[in-house]
């Protein structure tokens, strides 16, 4: 929002909270300076890790990568695939549940509410065991990958429902009345007013949720879904190179999550047209 207002005296823009908390607006630093400082921080962090490894007397080697590269690649692809499928499914679940929480039919509303509370209130690992060994066994879901996607979707769906519901509640009601006043039908109001604003408001948080899904998919290793984490557990169980294996594992997750976080930040800036 760098555009300057023209015309009759401009209204004073409210200072973002960031300016209050930090000395300067981070966005106003020159790009060259940003890159240099970032590099400095990265070097410092890597040095700290290196020194820590040295002090602990651990020597890290990544020799195993060549030997296991197909398995690591397969695991990586499995993680991406599970995450992508879960994202789609959890989006559908999340939107439906968010709408359900506002339903006039009370049992539906309370069901959606209870679902969100239970999922958000319990650890994912409990849900994984519960769904897979009890629900899965009872209803004959024995494909681990499919079960994994389902579990992750229901888990993430609750969080997405909260994101969507929050955005719905923050829509300015006067706009909706204005939409009626100009003669929009309910459908047109949805199509031209609610949907675009909802997308803009939820997109930054949703991309953040994608990063969470990717990380949370690692817990599916407990039911032996051969995704990235499980692959690395199996490899380190045979070659005992735990430090190399898990450092690589972390790095591979970062390869996926860092760009997503950057995209999230980008949306946040681009779609910020305030209230």
């Amino acid at each position: 929002m760098s555009e300057q207002k023209t015309g009759s005296s401009p209204q004073v823009r409210k200072r973002p909270l960031g300016n209050f908390l930090f000395a300067t607006d981070p966005g106003s630093v020159r790009p060259g300076k940003t890159a240099l400082n970032y590099l400095l921080v990265c070097v410092a962090v890597i040095a700290l890790v290196w020194v820590s490894l040295g002090l602990a007397g651990i020597s890290v080697n990544f020799d195993f990568v060549a030997q296991y590269r197909t398995r690591i690649w397969d695991g990586f692809c499995m993680t991406v695939g599970i995450s992508a499928a879960s994202l789609v499914a959890s989006l559908i679940i999340g939107i439906l549940v968010a709408l359900g929480q506002g339903a006039r039919f009370l049992p539906l509303r309370y069901l959606c509410d209870l679902y969100v509370k239970i999922i958000r209130g319990t650890p994912l690992i409990v849900q994984v065991y519960f769904f897979y060994y009890i629900i899965g066994t009872a209803w004959g879901v024995d494909n681990r990958v499919f079960a994994g996607i389902l579990i992750l979707s229901f888990f993430s769906g609750a969080y997405i429902a909260e994101i969507v519901r929050g955005s719905l509640m923050s829509l300015d009601p006067t706009q909706l009345e204005a939409a009626r006043a100009v003669g929009f039908t309910r459908w047109q109001t949805m199509r031209y007013v609610v949907a675009p604003q909802l997308v803009a408001r939820t997109l930054p948080a949703l991309t953040g949720q994608v990063a969470s899904i990717i990380k949370d998919s690692s817990l599916l290793s407990v039911i032996a879904v051969i995704e990235l984490t499980q692959t690395m557990r199996e490899i380190t169980a045979t070659n005992y190179n735990f430090f190399g294996g898990f450092l690589l594992l972390g790095a591979l997750y970062l390869v996926l999550t860092l760009p997503i976080m950057a995209i999230s930040r980008h949306f946040e800036k681009k779609l910020d047209y305030a209230r």
């Binding site: 204005a178 006043a181 100009v182 003669g183 929009f184 305030a274």
Partner: protein
């Protein structure tokens, strides 16, 4: 335009906020005044087809208005509505705020909608702000865009619900000037306002709403010079207390 209201009542959750409103006048410019919570906005919403009365009937130019949603939507497309604040679509720029309803509701072509919106926005002094979103506009500019959007559909009646109550004094004047100019060009309007100077000098007729009842209505000069009811006398004298 003949506006005829007969025994209009409106309740919210069993509490009646408008009691038996009857009104039958030729309206060119009408100000609805009265203390806050008196039912002014509710009455304007009923006249504007945004709200159905609990009971009673309404006729515009002799046509009875049906209060089912489909009929009301058709009726609303013949009017222009300006809200106190926040009536613009936040994700669209000024030009698109005006043009979108023209295309989608009134089925104008892309070009027609564009040129009509441009012309209006320029006339209201917003030529520099066409591509700005509401958050980038001042309060006065926002209300002028809202007025442009309301006028773009060539409404038979313009309805303004406290269009200046959320504005600083300088923007208030800016917006009221626009409304006065529109009146001089022949636009008919009903305004809910706390700006007594505007009600008195720019409006032909004034209606005084107090506690959900239409206590007095008539020519602006008569209402302000010879108030009949004790409530209106007290209301006007209180307003004078801090005037220059």
């Amino acid at each position: 335009m003949r506006v005829k209201l007969e025994h209009l009542c409106r309740s919210f959750d069993g509490v009646e906020v408008l009691h038996d409103i009857s009104f039958d006048e030729e309206v060119a410019s009408l100000a609805i005044i009265g203390p806050s919570g008196g039912g002014k906005s509710t009455l304007l919403r009923i006249i504007g087809g945004l709200l159905a009365p609990t009971s009673g009937s309404m006729e515009i130019d002799g046509d009875p208005i049906e209060f089912d949603e489909a009929a009301l939507r058709n009726y609303r497309t013949t009017l222009g509505f300006v809200f106190q604040d926040g009536g613009l679509f936040h994700h669209l720029d000024a030009l698109e705020n005006v043009a979108l309803p023209l295309r989608t509701v009134h089925h104008l072509s892309e070009d027609e909608a564009q040129s009509r919106s441009l012309e209006l926005l320029e006339r209201l002094g917003l030529a520099d702000s066409l591509k700005k979103r509401p958050a980038q506009l001042s309060g006065g500019q926002k209300q002028r865009v809202a007025i442009a959007r309301a006028l773009a559909v060539r409404p038979r009646l313009l309805l303004l619900d406290e269009p200046t109550s959320a504005l600083d004094p300088e923007f208030t004047t800016e917006v009221l000037d626009v409304v006065r100019d529109l009146k001089d060009e022949g636009t008919r309007f009903i305004i809910v306002t706390h700006e007594m100077g505007f009600a008195r000098h720019a409006c032909d007729k004034v209606a005084f709403l107090y506690d959900g009842r239409l206590l007095e209505h008539g020519d602006a000069a008569r209402i302000f010079d010879q108030p009949q009811t004790a409530e209106l006398k007290r209301f006007l004298s209180r307003l004078l207390e801090w005037s220059i």
